[in-house]
Symmetry: C2
Subunit: 131 residues, 2 copies
Amino acid sequence: MPLTISEVAHEAGVNPQTLRYYERRGILAEPARTPAGYRQYDPEAVTRIVFIKRAQDLGFTLEEVHELLELRVEHGAACGAVEATAGENLRRVDEKIRQLTRLQEVLTELVESCQLRQGTEDCPILEALER
Amino acid sequence: MPLTISEVAHEAGVNPQTLRYYERRGILAEPARTPAGYRQYDPEAVTRIVFIKRAQDLGFTLEEVHELLELRVEHGAACGAVEATAGENLRRVDEKIRQLTRLQEVLTELVESCQLRQGTEDCPILEALER
DNA sequence: TCGGACCTTATACTAGGGTACAGGGTTTGG
DNA sequence: CCAAACCCTGTACCCTAGTATAAGGTCCGA
């Protein structure tokens, strides 16, 4: 059962204009159309858009999201390029996880200090992302 | 040994105009000045700016970064608010880590598929951030 | 049948986050 | 002493990522 642009936008929690914008950017494929020209989306479009928004929330640009969504292996011959891109993105994700884990530790300590009513340093968070 | 705006910018890898912008935004405190009005930064400013940039790379806005940098306990009386804010940010960090871990798993599988020269689904990454 | 709500595209505008420029003062090394 | 490089503030501009608006067509329920 195809969805209208408003239905997809509503389910994904974005503005319909945003979907047209993603289409112009090439991040969303052009969907099928009714004879009147209305877009008809697969429900998978919602999943795609949720992915886009969550990846942005994790610090990826639309360009980077586009690159991630294009990752696939169609046949063995193309593996080198896909492996390189996936590996590079894997390293970035690893690094983000490492840094967020540091921040998580410092925030956990801060919450504990609060619970024990203990003062903290002037800016306990500052060095969390230093390395 | 205080640093000039160019020295701090260079060490932190940003543009000097960015530092003035952060000062206008209140994210960086106003530094000491020479009699001629030149800014003189503590070396700690570099740490602060590195924190800002890395937090942005992790998906935090400048507003959120500002909030994080303001987290501290000065005396027991203020603990409630600090604990609430730190707790809220801790939850967001937890969620980011969870989602990035999912993405990490999918990217790892993708790299392994490449190494085994196996085809993948049309868009193996898509569901990585679905929940 | 009709009106309100939806859709279309093209264009203009907004918000967040910078970054460049103008005009003029200061510093520093040759 | 002087030129180049630095600094200052205020203002303007740029980029990314949306989002609104205009003008007009389509759909659907009353």
